[in-house]
Symmetry: C2
Subunit: 236 residues, 2 copies
DNA sequence: CGATTCTTTTCTGTATACAACTTGTATTTT
DNA sequence: AAAATACAAGTTGTATACAGAAAAGAATCG
């Protein structure tokens, strides 16, 4: 029942992280210090410290004398993402297979349980968060301080990319998500068996699946409907 | 001639970074807020923001209700380092060869000039900082936001490892450092030519050189002198 | 003496007040 | 009427003061 400043600070942090990962706070959004400090019962001093930390982790961008912003996503970052992700995740899973402890493996299984539950009944946000948690545990397992900064940065945008491209309720999506779930199970098995090579291969497969999904979304089948005359409309 | 708070803050940041990279502030050192804020004419509020940011970049460790500490280095991190470094640096140089701009290439040449100058006449600290600058520019060139967090984290410990293991004035060291300088030249050439494969290969070579150097330091040739009776000495 | 508890001191974390900067608006000038 | 300037409101950055937690020291008890 601790409702002291320390817990409120942690709450704020969690709130911002979740909001950013789920796109409730969209890339580029300005954050209002006064409003947030009011809402969480914190003064601006600790609030700004949270901003600084989140900026360090890649959630926010800070510009002097201007408000903090949710970090941007552009098409160039999408390209950079798929350049870096397979390599880093391959290394992470390889190390996870080497180093995972019993406790961590149980954490991973719990995360996968939650992911499956979210697939069944949850919202897109629940799925993205559960998926994020799953991969976060694999990052912990790798236990390499030099890989984690980039991996965590990748996970942020992985969640946001997922929220952007897996949103529509289509047959493809459900299929791909259950395929993702199957891959998660395989990843758990590979880690539990300490099978590095399998883990690394699964990392690659997992990204190929993501990329295929996005390509389908970005380049849909063409509409087969003749155009009418468009109404006049002023540009914003 | 701006001597306002903003520049003092930047000064403090630079001071801490340089001090940590050169081991003037050793891993595990406690930082005194009162003393630092006094020395740089800043109140504790902006000072603590700097701490948070440096912690995010991997220079410091923050623990609640305890003083900020220079981030630790252990033998396990040394192992983690050489697991991650070749992979990340290989990717960085590959992307650098793809994306480097004219301006960046000039920056890199300037950095290499400074490095050579430091080799000739500078201290170990100068060399480490110049080398750090060189690699930092390659990181800029890669232009990949997902790779840079890990790469920057690697560069911090690269400088500190260098300060630890290249310190003694030996024939080997000078030789290896000029070899490093030659590799830098080759890296510049590969980037300028846009030769990805060569750049990636050079990244690997560069780490092999580092690793050899450390192995030599950790496992020196055995002394060929019969032991006498050691003098009594108290452990610190 | 040694250990333990209590007090004092020091340092970390937070709140508030103030200063500096940005930006939007209104007024003046051409 | 358009542009430029000056003003005003709002927001960010910093300093100081205070509250709370560790650490250090003194006093008490075994």
């Amino acid at each position: 029942m601790k409702d002291d400043a320390k817990s409120r600070k942690a709450e704020l942090m969690e709130h911002l992280k979740v909001s950013i990962l789920t796109l409730r706070l969209q890339p580029g959004t300005d954050l209002d210090e006064a409003h947030l400090s009011d809402a969480f019962g914190l003064s601006r001093t600790p609030l700004r410290e949270v901003f600084r930390q989140l900026a360090g982790e890649g959630y926010l961008d800070l510009r002097t004398n201007r408000s903090a912003r949710v970090s941007e996503m552009s098409y160039t970052t999408l390209r950079d993402f798929f350049l870096a992700a397979p390599m880093v995740y391959g290394a992470v899973l390889r190390l996870a297979a080497q180093n995972a402890t019993r406790t961590q493996i149980n954490d991973l299984k719990d995360a996968q349980q939650a992911f499956k539950a979210a697939l069944q009944s949850g919202s897109a946000e629940d799925r993205a968060l559960a998926n994020n948690r799953f991969h976060d545990v694999t990052g912990e397992m790798s236990g390499n301080v030099y890989l984690r900064p980039s991996f965590n940065r990748l996970l942020i945008d992985h969640a946001r990319i997922g929220m952007t491209f897996y949103r529509p309720q289509s047959g493809h999506k459900t299929e791909n998500l259950s395929e993702a779930s199957r891959q998660h199970d395989a990843i758990i098995a590979a880690i539990e068996a300490g099978d590095e090579a399998a883990a690394a291969q699964l990392a690659e497969d997992h990204w190929n699946l993501s990329r295929d999904q996005i390509e389908l979304f970005v380049m849909p089948a063409a509409l087969d409907i003749p155009m009418g005359i468009p109404p006049l409309s002023k540009p914003a």
